[in-house]
């Protein structure tokens, strides 16, 4: 098996993070890791270099328009889109975690290594319809994340959250595996798109095994996007993880699961007419449940990270509505939504680092009055929260607009009404964030503590926050460029969905 140079170029974006992930533990062996800042700097530099190089190769592929497809890999536009999505999230995470781990006093090279493995896994996951590759990708990005959640071992709840995430995640992975096995057993092929054809040709579309297999596969995806009722791990895992990791999980895990679903769902599940319709119905019901439960539970949270966790659950609901509508325009909307979601959620979690909220001190109380003390961060916070609530002219509005528009166009008016009502509810808890930042004076206790502590310096996290705010605003004013130049091309040229 020899690869042509162009195939190498297509493979490099996956290999480079993995290479970085292998190199970093070697540096982390040094016992001075905790004391010598330059070692930490080199580790972070290596990790950043790996994702930046990966980004460079991906954008190069995107620019040339090449869509190499070899072995089980399809490095088409959709995979490139997903790759860019993941490495941007990873780069933001690396920058934020430099500040965050220094604030926590727990800087370890292993976290970077795990993060990079996860990046490779995510790209693999979205670049194939072959079941084994899919599963490999799924596990390669999940297992490092289980460990990352529990990474700050000094905090007992960190380990607890990691364990919870691991146990539930393992069940979901085995369900996914079982689903694939059933489909393979019926069709005799491991390629999911081919399997759909075989099953249909043999008239097995109504076979209970096909239905069970498809349902189990879907379950695997829904767990990763934290759709109700597979969401229970989300708040605990986010609360336990370091802020940047929580941001990365909320964005990248959800994002790649949706992108992979986008690859599998229309091409593999939908052609099995009966199964496709049933899966569509399941997604519709779960989307409703996700929206209702995610939003209502987010209302009563006092911890910002838990609020953001439930908010991320509810956003899974909006994205699932895109699948309910199921039109190419709605799928484009999903991809656009993911881009904005990347910026606004990485930004929101980045804010926690930029404000220097460590450990458990992430309640709304801890945020009071910070918006005025750090005006630039406060401005960015307003952008993120209004965008998450879907208020124009922020980018988040356009994602919802495209999805709701297609919902209405396909006759799901009731779901659209539910969706906007969910947005209304969500506006309340996003406003709470702004209320704490701007509308409340800092509590006396916080003032006293602040005068004892040195001023927070988080230049890297602050910079990522500003970059994210710029992306969200760009999504609001140059939405057409993002949609036509990026999201739509990924679908049109990658999947051939719209003609």
């Amino acid at each position: 098996m020899s690869l042509t140079p162009s195939q190498w170029a297509a493979l490099l974006p996956l290999l480079l993070p993995a290479l970085g992930a292998c190199l970093i533990p070697l540096m982390a062996l040094d016992k001075d890791q905790a004391s010598a800042k330059w070692i930490r700097g080199v580790m972070y530099g290596t990790a950043l270099l790996a994702v930046v190089a990966s980004f460079w190769y991906l954008t190069d592929l995107w620019r040339t328009g090449a869509q190499p497809s070899f072995f089980q890999l399809r490095m088409d536009r959709l995979a490139q889109f997903s790759g860019i999505f993941v490495v941007v999230a990873a780069a933001l995470t690396i920058l934020q975690s430099w500040d965050h781990f220094h604030q926590e006093g727990w800087v370890k090279g292993e976290t970077l290594s795990l993060l990079l493995f996860s990046v490779t896994g995510m790209m693999l996951f979205t670049a194939s319809t072959h079941f084994v590759t899919l599963f490999l990708g799924l596990e390669l990005f999940s297992i490092p994340l289980y460990a990352l959640v529990g990474t700050v071992r000094a905090r007992p709840e960190s380990a607890e959250g990691g364990m919870k995430y691991f146990l539930t995640g393992a069940v979901a992975s085995s369900c996914f595996l079982m689903g694939g096995v059933l489909i393979y057993g019926l069709s005799g092929t491991l390629d999911l798109s081919a399997a759909a054809g075989v099953i249909k040709a043999q008239g097995l579309a109504l076979d209970p095994l096909a239905l069970t297999g498809a349902a189990l596969l879907l379950l695997g995806f829904l767990f990763k996007v934290s759709a109700v009722p597979f969401h229970q791990w989300t708040p605990d895992a986010y609360e336990a993880s370091p802020h940047p990791i929580a941001g990365f999980m909320s964005v990248a895990t959800k994002g790649v699961a949706f992108i992979a679903l986008l690859r599998i769902f229309p091409s593999s599940l939908a052609p099995l007419t009966a199964v496709g319709v049933k899966m569509q119905a399941v997604v519709a019901v779960l989307a409703v449940a996700t929206l209702v439960l995610g939003n209502l539970t987010a209302l009563v949270q006092s911890n910002v990270k838990r609020m953001l966790a439930y908010s991320s659950i509810s956003h899974a609901g909006y994205l699932m509505l895109g699948f309910v509508a199921g039109t190419p325009a709605a799928h484009t909307g999903v991809l656009f939504y993911l881009v904005i979601y990347l910026a606004m959620n990485m930004g929101a979690f980045g804010l926690l680092t930029a404000f220097g909220l460590v450990g458990e001190k992430t309640t709304f109380e801890d945020l009071r009055g910070l918006g005025w003390k750090r005006p630039a961060m406060g401005f960015a916070a307003a952008v993120f929260m209004l965008s998450l609530a879907g208020i124009p002219p922020m980018g988040g509005f356009y994602g919802k607009y495209m999805i709701f528009r297609e919902l209405v166009a396909t006759g799901h008016v009731g779901m659209a009404i539910l969706g906007v009502l969910a947005s209304l509810v969500s506006a309340y808890y996003y406003l709470r964030f702004l209320v704490a930042l701007f509308l409340q004076a800092p509590s006396a206790e916080a003032e006293r503590l602040a005068s004892d502590r040195p001023v927070v310096h988080a230049p890297l996290a602050g910079a990522t926050v500003l970059v994210c705010a710029a992306i969200v605003l760009a999504g609001g004013f140059l939405q057409f460029a993002l949609v036509d130049g990026f999201a739509k091309r990924a679908l049109v040229e990658g999947l051939g969905l719209i003609r």
Binding site: T332, F379, P392, P393, R405, E406, V408, V413, L424, V435
Partner: protein, 533 residues
């Protein structure tokens, strides 16, 4: 300058926001400089809007200034970047650009903290309001309509009174609830029409079954009625008004509420003429309730600002009644009443703010005998009070008279009763305003150490007089020669209503509308062949 010649409206709409963002970036210490820059900028916008809008004669289509460009499609429906000023929004635009610098001047020293950010929010709000007023594409309108909430939210929430957080959240969520449901209706119609152009939407709507039209109209109407606010959707208003800082109250009353009424005349009625006819009577009934109820509640208020807030409910009820009458004279009255209310209530809020800045209380019981201590202030307050009551020769009279006239001839089965009941609202208006005036300004001086009167040491200064004078001039001007302000909307309103009335049988009507010649203010354009836009 060529860019400006091609995009005058874009400049008018976005220049305040640009300035606002610049001011936001200024350090806190330069708040006073920011205030001065903001004021000068807003003043320049006002002067420009006057010279550009009054300097251009309307073209054949009635447009004074217009811009249209294709904006984006986002994999589906085209959205046009379409802005225009025509007879319907001309004076509302000018009212907005006029009130913003005036309010800044009037509340110059009211705020001590974060002045720069406040001025920036004010300018962002101006962009939102102007954008919504000139938008000719419903998507663009929706964007501005929603975006407007953000600066207002912060204005109430950061610089407001003691209950400001509650009031700000209530304002935001209440308004958002209406507009989100409206968004669904908008998307539904846009999918049918293949775009957000109101003309296309009207066509598409007329092809829909009547029941669907009715639901869509209700969705539009509820979103606009919340903003107006029409009884029973008014409950956010007293909180927002009372808690907002003076400048916020003035703009809220002066412009934001108008956008609700404007939404009806610009979008809801032209797009769903049949449904609008069908629901005109229920709306008229709610308007009458709003007029009487608002007045009755205003009567028992102990806080002057709250009294003015409820009087807004009553006055905006008149606007809705005029629109619901579906007659030219009633609608023209509503157009004028919107301007009136912007001027009179804006002036009232400014005056209450001036009083509050001195006395730090707004309770009626804390005052008494203010006339002795502040004669100039009292004179202004009296003029504005009389205008708010609707004394002949002030602006309030003309608007209310036309609206009542329009309701009387509307041909509703209960139209005359509505007109009579609404007239009682005028009466009640006199009661609550004059009673309040009597208790605050006349009578023996309140000598109590803690009283508000005791803290009044200075009468209005030159700056405050400079703020009030133009308002008083306008009050008289609009009362004596209203034609200046309604001539522009005559043609579009006539065209709109004739287009509705000609073909459609009116569901609720027992006998055809008696089309009396609308007072002597202008001859009615009887072009029967004219189709609505």
């Amino acid at each position: 300058m060529t860019w400006l010649n091609l995009h005058p409206l874009t400049f008018l709409v976005f220049a305040p926001a640009l300035l606002g963002f610049l001011l936001m970036a200024l350090p806190h210490a330069l708040g006073k400089l920011a205030r001065m820059l903001g004021f000068l900028g807003a003043l320049a916008i006002f002067v420009l809007s006057l010279s550009w809008l009054l300097g251009h004669a309307p073209d054949a289509g009635g447009l004074i200034l217009a811009e249209r460009a294709s904006w984006f499609t986002l994999v589906g429906l085209p959205v046009d970047y379409a802005l225009a000023v025509d007879g319907l929004n001309l004076w509302l635009v000018i009212l907005t650009t006029f009130l913003v610098p005036l309010t800044m001047l009037g509340t110059w020293n009211s705020l001590k903290d974060r002045i720069g950010t406040f001025v920036a929010m004010f300018l962002l709000l101006e962009t939102g309001m102007l954008g919504a007023l000139v938008a000719q594409d419903l998507f663009v309108f929706y964007l501005f309509w929603e975006a407007m909430l953000i600066p207002m939210y912060f204005m109430i929430g950061v610089w407001g009174g003691d209950e400001r957080r509650y009031a700000a959240n209530k304002f935001f969520l209440y308004t958002l609830s209406g507009s989100l449901l409206w968004l669904v209706a908008l998307l539904y119609l846009a999918n049918k029409a293949g775009g957000f152009n109101p003309a296309l939407m009207a066509q598409a709507a007329s092809a829909l079954p009547f029941s669907v039209q009715g639901w869509l109209f209700i969705a539009f109407a509820v979103a606009f009625a919340i903003k107006v606010p029409l009884f029973p959707l008014h409950t956010w208003l007293p909180d927002a008004h009372v808690q907002a800082p003076t400048a916020g109250s003035v703009i809220l009353a002066g412009v934001l509420l108008k956008l609700g009424g404007y939404g009806f005349i610009r979008f809801a009625i032209p797009i769903f003429p049949q449904a609008a006819m069908h629901y005109a009577q229920p709306i008229a009934l709610l308007s009458v309730i709003a007029i009487v109820y608002g007045a009755l509640v205003a009567m028992v208020q102990r806080d002057i600002k709250k009294l003015v807030a409820y009087s807004s409910v009553s006055h905006m009820g008149f606007v809705m009644l005029g629109l619901a009458s579906m007659t030219v004279i009633g609608t023209q009255g509503a157009m004028l009443q919107m301007l009136n209310h912007g001027i009179s209530t804006g002036a009232l809020f400014l005056l209450v703010g001036m009083l509050y800045d001195r006395a730090h209380t707004r309770m009626i019981a804390d005052f008494g005998g203010v006339a002795v201590k502040m004669p100039i202030f009292t004179t202004f307050f009296l003029i504005v009070t009389l205008s708010s009551i609707g004394l002949p020769l002030t602006n309030g009279f003309v608007g209310e008279f036309w609206i009542l006239n329009g309701t009387f001839v509307s041909g509703f089965p209960w139209g005359r009763l509505y007109a009579c009941l609404a007239t009682s609202g005028v009466l009640l208006g006199a009661v609550y305003m004059l009673w309040m005036f009597m208790r605050v300004f006349w009578g023996p001086e309140n000598k109590d150490e803690d009283s508000g009167t005791h803290h009044l040491h200075t009468d209005l200064n030159a700056r405050e007089i400079a703020v009030m004078l133009p308002l008083v001039v306008l009050i008289v001007w609009m009362g004596v020669h209203p034609k200046t302000f309604v001539a522009a909307s005559e043609a579009p309103v006539t065209a709109l209503l004739q287009g509705i009335k000609a073909p459609a049988p009116r569901p609720f009507v027992l006998k055809p509308a008696v089309h009396e010649a609308p007072a002597a203010h202008a001859p009615e354009a009887p072009a029967a062949h004219e189709v609505h836009r």
